[in-house]
């Protein structure tokens, strides 16, 4: 779990859970918003990583 990707996924899971719970009232909506935030965080970091690799690597 101490790989960069593993830690990032752990971090994104925690942050998205808190935001999802904060921003919505219904459990179903919370899961939906939290999932969207999680995918955005992980996907964004992954895309940015590849972009940096292609540009500077």
């Amino acid at each position: 779990m101490t790989t960069h990707l593993g830690v990032m996924i752990l971090f994104a899971a925690c942050v998205s859970t808190v935001f999802g719970t904060l921003l919505r009232e219904q459990p179903r909506d919370q899961v939906r918003v939290g999932g969207r935030i999680f995918v955005s965080l992980v996907g964004g970091a992954y895309a940015l990583g590849w972009l940096m690799f292609l540009v500077f690597g």
Binding site: T2, V7, L10, F11, C14, V15, T17, V18, T21, L22, L23, R24, E25, P27
Partner: protein, 143 residues
């Protein structure tokens, strides 16, 4: 005359209600600052309170386990000062970790910066939780 008396009484009752609401908000905010999720528990939102307690506590513990540092209030180093402020936004976990001698900061650990990030972000997220508690205690909820 009765109308005037009723107005005065209503105004007094309104002031009392406002004071009670402020006290309730203050108590809930202090509880939320002290223990993550405690503010929501006080307001009767057990599920939300439980989620905040578990997630924010886990983030704090992970930060310590990763070798993160509990920063001191150093005015000479603005970023260190801000990191310290963020970490103190979770009061009880920060005090327990400090008293327990944890959070010395393992600078050579691969996960040192990750640990700091978890500790700092856990505190900042708790600040958002405290603000949410304040809004709810004052009756301002998201529709």
């Amino acid at each position: 005359m009765p109308a005037s008396g009723a107005t005065g009484s209503g105004s007094s009752a309104g002031a009392t209600t406002s004071t009670e609401t402020s006290d309730r908000a203050l108590r809930a905010c202090l509880a939320a600052w002290l223990v993550p999720g405690a503010g929501h528990l006080l307001l009767g939102q057990r599920r939300k309170g439980g989620i905040f307690f578990v997630v924010l506590s886990v983030m704090f513990v992970i930060g310590l386990a990763f070798g993160g540092r509990l920063f001191p209030f150093q005015m000479q180093e603005p970023l260190v000062f801000l990191a310290a402020v963020a970490e103190w936004l979770q009061l009880l976990p920060r005090i327990i970790a400090g008293v327990g001698g944890l959070g010395q900061g393992d600078v050579v650990a691969v996960t040192y910066e990750y640990g700091n990030t978890f500790l700092i972000v856990a505190g900042l997220l708790n600040a958002l939780v405290v603000l949410d508690v304040f809004d709810r205690a004052r009756g301002r909820t998201r529709s």
